[in-house]
């Protein structure tokens, strides 16, 4: 049997063969096929051929093919179960891992990803993406927020105010995600709410993807004059490694009539978390009492 993480209201099930997220079932009977994967786009190196002159860089996202290459993962999972939280920990590669976390009374899952340092010994720039696929029929429509304000309708390969000729089927459909992205089949909404501004899209119907990290080897020629290849120096300046990112996003699946309220509620919780302050006190003082 695959692992699972459940609360009083929702259960997330993981595949016994791949170790990856496979299904979501709500207490109210809504059940959604929900598959997750990680893959990477090969950043264009900006060679001099006429059609590929622009490199993917700090300003520009431009994969050199539309293929998203699967990470060669061999998933190791472990489950943590208790009365307050259930977690499934997944180690996908030596540099990609995540925790899917479901709190007792919540109707959504928190996914905590840790990605990096991105290897580049193969001399390929990489833009790391996680894809979440559902069986919802979204017909090319998805929604992204606008600087935390309203969600705006996006249609794949389409602009409402001019006739779009698509040359970049991935980058041309990417949008900024400041607080969330969602899609709908008119009865159920599938939302992802983020803790930071990142890029995202819906390249296939029923599927959302987020770009969680990038490491590039070439400058895009737009003014930075450095490749997007930041490092952290450890111990001394002679030991430097690529960045590791850790972040979270929420996966929320609800009936359409409830989801707008909960998206707003969850976004505000995410952007304004509880602020914790600590103090060690001597028991005999009774200071705080």
């Amino acid at each position: 049997h695959g692992a699972h993480a459940k609360s009083n209201s929702v259960q997330f099930t993981f595949s016994s063969s791949t170790g990856l997220l496979e299904r979501l079932k709500r207490k109210d009977g809504v059940e959604v096929s929900l598959e997750q994967s990680f893959c990477w786009y090969n950043a264009s190196d900006g060679n001099t051929e006429e059609t590929r002159g622009q490199a993917s860089g700090a300003y520009v996202f431009r994969p050199n093919t539309s293929s998203c290459f699967a990470l060669g993962y061999n998933v190791t999972t472990s489950s943590v179960k208790g009365s307050l939280v259930e977690e499934v920990h997944q180690q996908l590669t030596s540099w990609v891992s995540q925790v899917v976390r479901v709190f007792k009374d919540s109707e959504n899952a928190e996914v905590e990803f840790t990605v990096g340092p991105i290897p580049f010994e193969d001399q390929l720039g990489k833009e790391i993406v996680t894809k979440l696929s559902t069986d919802l029929e979204s017909n090319g429509v998805f929604y992204t927020d606008s600087n935390g304000r309203d969600f705006i309708k996006r249609v794949r390969d389409y602009r409402s105010d001019w006739e779009l000729e698509v040359h970049e089927e991935i980058a041309g459909n990417y949008y900024p995600v400041n607080s969330g992205i969602f899609l709908s089949d008119n009865s159920t909404d599938f939302s992802i709410l983020v803790d930071r501004s990142i890029g995202g899209s819906s390249i296939s119907d029923g599927e959302l993807e987020l770009m969680v990290h990038r490491r590039l080897l070439h400058d895009d020629g737009k003014g930075v004059a450095e490749a997007l290849n930041e490092t952290t120096c450890l111990d001394d300046s002679s030991t430097c490694e690529g960045l590791v990112v850790r972040g979270t996003f929420l996966i929320d699946v609800r009936p359409v009539n409830e989801s707008a309220f909960w998206r707003r509620n969850l976004i505000q919780r995410k952007l304004f978390p509880l602020q914790l302050v600590f103090s060690v006190v001597n028991d005999e003082d009774g200071q705080f009492n």
Binding site: V244, F272, D283
Partner: protein, 223 residues
């Protein structure tokens, strides 16, 4: 106490390069330094504000929902008083900006004969019930609310991934890594009023009847 460096940090956070990473490495390093200085300075301000609120000596209570107001009030009118009162009541408040990688020296302290006070401030305008997660060095713990009632809690070992990130951070700031002491995550239920705070106490159990529930861990489902 001042909020001068917070101004510079806000400028960085509103600059397109600071948001998107479209800057050269030496500029990124400069941004990092400014953000760090602001976070340290702001932490002192918040700690001083909370110390005043908790001791009931402050006229700041009505303003607590707005960081800028609090920081301005303290720096302009109450700054020296806040320092004095914080010091005189020997309340040493600390925060943990790296709790996302399970690194939190104050909550990891040895609590023999002591308690850890955890103050949770809710910046939202509605009552909030959430599960708080802190890093601790013991697993025989009880958690109490401010009325002395036992609060449901759960213990989880710190994951290998988080341990690696902790060690990476310690190496980057050239601190020694003590790897033979196990660390745990303590989770407990926390309820906070709108724009207000709640206090909880984490105490080591005097015997083996601790209340923090130990998690069941199923390892290595290999695929």
């Amino acid at each position: 106490l001042s909020s001068d460096s917070l101004e510079e940090a806000l400028a960085v956070l509103q600059h397109h390069d600071g948001v998107s990473g479209t800057e050269q490495q030496h500029v990124a390093s400069d941004y990092t330094k400014r953000l760090f200085l602001a976070s340290v300075e702001s932490e002192s301000l918040i700690n001083a504000a909370l110390a005043q609120l908790i001791t009931g000596k402050s006229r700041l209570a009505g303003y607590v929902g707005r960081l800028q107001m609090v920081t301005n009030e303290i720096s302009n009118n109450y700054g020296h008083q806040a320092i004095k009162e914080t010091g005189s009541s020997s309340m040493n408040f600390q925060q943990c900006p790296l709790s996302n990688i399970s690194y939190c020296p104050p909550s990891e302290a040895d609590l023999t004969g002591k308690s850890l006070a955890v103050i949770a401030y809710n910046p939202l305008g509605w009552e909030r019930k959430e599960t708080v997660r802190i890093t601790v060095s013991d697993y025989k713990l009880d958690v109490f609310d401010s009325s002395g009632n036992l609060v449901p809690s759960q213990i989880i070992p710190v994951s290998q991934t988080s341990t690696k990130l902790r060690e990476r951070h310690l190496r980057s700031i050239q601190k020694p890594i003590v790897s033979d002491e196990p660390l745990f995550e303590l989770l407990f239920e926390c309820s906070t009023p709108p724009l207000g705070y709640s206090t909880y106490y984490v105490k080591p159990s005097q015997n083996d009847s601790y209340s923090a529930e130990h998690s069941l861990i199923e390892e290595n489902i290999q695929s």
